[in-house]
């Protein structure tokens, strides 16, 4: 458990005054993740909202060494940085511990960046990859990605008079990364900061490739008020839409509220509680498309059942 008091004393590695939207989950997650280590950290960042809004030349919000090179290669860029670190350390030119982190959106991770991520994970570079999953290409104006949930309206999967938003369920990237059998894979939510920071702390302490998939509400794309970000990120967990879990050395473990839900100590909320807070699902509450909600619910129930089993419930 991290105490808020302790956290508040830490120096911020991402300065305020960046140009991300009010209520954006991305900088909140960056701060939570980076607060989890006291060692120096170097970050690579894929093209996307975070990169664009924190480094508008000649300004930078980053107090740590940071590199952006393109959209699809946060993993291979940090792999090069880490490779250089390893050789300079071997040659005695650097002798301190440094942590490496790659930040990317869901588009830069689930879609265009999956090859670079998979390759870097397989090669065993020592880095933590963090995916900000706001479930669409936000920086280019809310287009669907393979992380976009079924039923969500985006600008390339708009809810129309015959099509109810995105027709497909998202791919399960956390599972794909767990299948790489890397030392650590986890899902987190900024609403449960204790859980997220603990996971990041654990990830930083482990050598080798680590992957964290973090749900990242986006007021612009999800169509919700800017002060609902944290509440929605909690609802995602409480409905089991986004369970909190980790896979450490191939062992699955539910954490936080998700663990309590699995143990019957906390109620699993119906998915409507999550959907109704967001404009991107508004059309699902019309006569024409209301049949979609039970479909979503049944998929969540089934996925949750599978995950619980993996975690020994």
């Amino acid at each position: 458990m991290v105490s808020l008091k302790e956290l508040s004393k830490k120096e911020e590695k991402l300065a305020s005054g960046h140009r991300l939207c009010a209520g954006c989950a991305e900088p909140i997650i960056v701060r939570q993740i980076l607060s989890a280590t006291d060692e120096p950290v170097i970050a690579s960042n894929a093209t996307g909202c975070l990169e664009v809004a924190t480094t508008i030349y000649p300004y930078t919000s980053w107090k740590i060494p940071w590199i952006h090179s393109a959209f699809e290669n946060a993993a291979s860029t940090i792999a090069g940085v880490e490779a250089c670190y390893q050789v300079l350390k071997r040659k005695g030119k650097i002798n301190r511990e440094i942590k490496f982190v790659a930040f990317a959106g869901d588009g830069g991770t689930y879609d265009i960046g999956i090859q670079a991520l998979s390759g870097a994970a397989e090669r065993g570079h020592d880095f933590l990859y963090v995916c900000f999953n706001n479930e669409a290409y936000m920086n280019t104006g809310i287009q669907r990605s393979s992380a976009t949930p079924m039923g969500a309206s985006t600008t390339t999967s708009p809810a129309g008079s015959v099509i109810p938003g995105k027709k497909e369920f998202p791919k399960d990237l956390t599972e794909i990364m767990a299948a790489h059998k890397i030392p650590y894979v986890a899902q987190g939510s900024p609403g449960f900061y204790n859980d997220l920071i603990a996971k990041a702390g654990k990830a930083f302490s482990i050598k080798g490739p680590k992957f964290m998939n973090v749900i990242a509400p986006c007021p612009r794309g999800w169509r919700h008020p800017t002060d609902k970000t944290i509440e929605i990120s909690k609802k995602a967990v409480e409905t089991c839409f986004w369970p909190l879990y980790e896979v450490e050395n191939n062992e699955y473990r539910l954490t936080g509220i998700s663990k309590l839900i699995a143990e019957g100590k906390k109620e699993k909320l119906p998915i409507v509680e999550y959907l109704k807070m967001q404009g991107r699902f508004k059309h699902l509450f019309t006569e024409k498309y209301k049949h979609i909600i039970p479909e979503i619910q049944s998929r969540i129930d089934s996925d949750w059942g599978i995950l619980k089993k993996k975690c020994g419930y």
Binding site: I42, T55, Y57, P65, I67, A79, G80, A83, A116, R123
Partner: protein, 388 residues
């Protein structure tokens, strides 16, 4: 000095071993594969300290090179054809981030149809990416160019792409005079990056978002750096001559002094052209040839000087620039000569996908030039040579 029998790929690997870079990120593609395999053996046998990253694609090869170079390391890779095309986006990032990466290109045709043999479509497609481009004729030049490239890149603050012909050079075993390891080491010196990402005490932001208020100034700096690289290439060539006895400039001339007709080529064809020139001279035809070594930055003044007395010029392009008025070298040479020469300049597109080009082909080109020079008439400015 050591005399070795090596093919071009092995010579690249051997030079890389002597350079002993910090990071090499590589991905196999014919005809480059042998180089990356051979270098992996050096790594496996502990003959280099290099961190070798066997990436999952060329896009990641260049991305990892960018990360490693920004970190302050001396970084190298090599590729060809589809591999270079796949890197295209990252080539610009490497150059604009001013990272002195060295990447040998073993020139190979681009698909489709898929073909593994030589032409220059791959590197010519990257000619505007901000990389210095040097073309070698044979294995010896391939070896020499790599070593010079390290010094050029680090002095210019720009990446360098030494190129040579796939298979014709990459797979041909030739006599190579290799320098002693110590000589190479002293020649390239120690690389010191100005703002290494790994300096955690002095954090820097690489690759920020740059709008219309600054982007153009950054491009102008890159433009100036490329211009300044011309002298650097010449200076490094002179310095290299001191340790190797082999001289290197932006171009080299063959019997151009008193020539009326000139053939210009890059890479291995330059040797064929010299042979053809000598044979035509025996027939009393006043020909010469010019081998262009440096394509970026384009040494237009040197070219003007070398060609100032000729009447007719044939530019040999080993790639097409579809829809353009001739191949890439043709356009640039014509533009370099504009208002300084009244020679007729014609273009031959040849050798695509490894199509053989012989002295007979080039002798025909010289005969064409002779007709142009005597009649003053050009039938066709741009034509395919050796096509059915």
């Amino acid at each position: 000095m050591k005399i070795l029998g090596m093919n071009g790929d092995n010579a690249v690997a051997y030079a890389m071993k002597q350079i002993n870079p910090d990071v090499v990120a590589g991905y196999p593609i014919t005809p480059q594969t042998i180089a990356i395999e051979k270098f992996s053996e050096y790594v496996a046998d502990g003959e280099v300290d290099t961190e070798f990253v066997a990436v999952e694609s060329e896009h990641s090869a260049m991305s990892a090179c960018i990360g490693a170079s920004a970190s302050g390391g001396r970084v190298m890779t090599s590729t060809a054809s589809a591999g270079l095309a796949f890197m295209w986006e990252m080539l610009y990032v490497a150059a604009s981030t001013r990272l002195p990466i060295v990447m040998n290109v073993m020139n190979r045709a681009l698909s489709a149809p898929i073909n593994i043999h030589c032409d220059h479509s791959d590197s010519m497609g990257a000619r505007d990416s901000g990389w210095i481009q040097i073309y070698g004729e044979n294995v010896q030049e391939g070896y020499d160019n790599i070593i010079q490239a390290v010094k050029i890149a680090e002095s210019a603050g720009l990446p360098v792409m030494p190129c040579f012909d796939g298979f014709i050079v990459s797979h041909a075993v030739e006599r190579v005079e290799a320098l002693d390891d110590e000589k190479v080491k002293n020649f390239i010196g120690i690389y010191k990056s100005e703002h290494p990402l790994l300096d955690v005490e002095n954090p820097v932001t690489y690759g920020p978002f740059d709008m219309y208020d600054y982007y153009m100034e950054h491009k102008k700096q890159e433009h100036e750096a490329m211009k300044a690289a011309l002298k650097i290439v010449k200076d490094v060539g002179k310095e290299y001559e001191k340790i190797s006895g082999r001289s290197y400039d932006t171009l080299s001339e063959h019997r151009l002094d008193d020539a009326e007709l000139a053939v210009i080529a890059l890479g291995s064809t330059a040797g064929t052209a010299r042979e053809a020139v000598d044979e035509m001279r025996k027939k009393g035809i006043n020909a010469g040839s010019l081998k262009l070594r440096l394509f970026r930055p384009f040494p237009y003044e040197d070219i003007r000087n070398a060609l100032k007395n000729v009447k007719a010029i044939a530019v040999m392009d080993r790639c097409d620039s579809f829809g353009a008025f001739g191949g890439p070298m043709f356009s640039e040479i014509r533009s370099a000569l504009y208002k300084t020469s009244d020679a007729e300049v014609v273009n031959y597109i040849y050798g695509l996908g490894g199509r053989d080009v012989t002295t007979n082909h080039i002798k025909k080109v010289i005969s064409d030039l002779n007709n142009i020079s005597t009649t003053g008439k050009v039938k066709e400015y741009v034509q395919y040579l050796g096509v059915r």
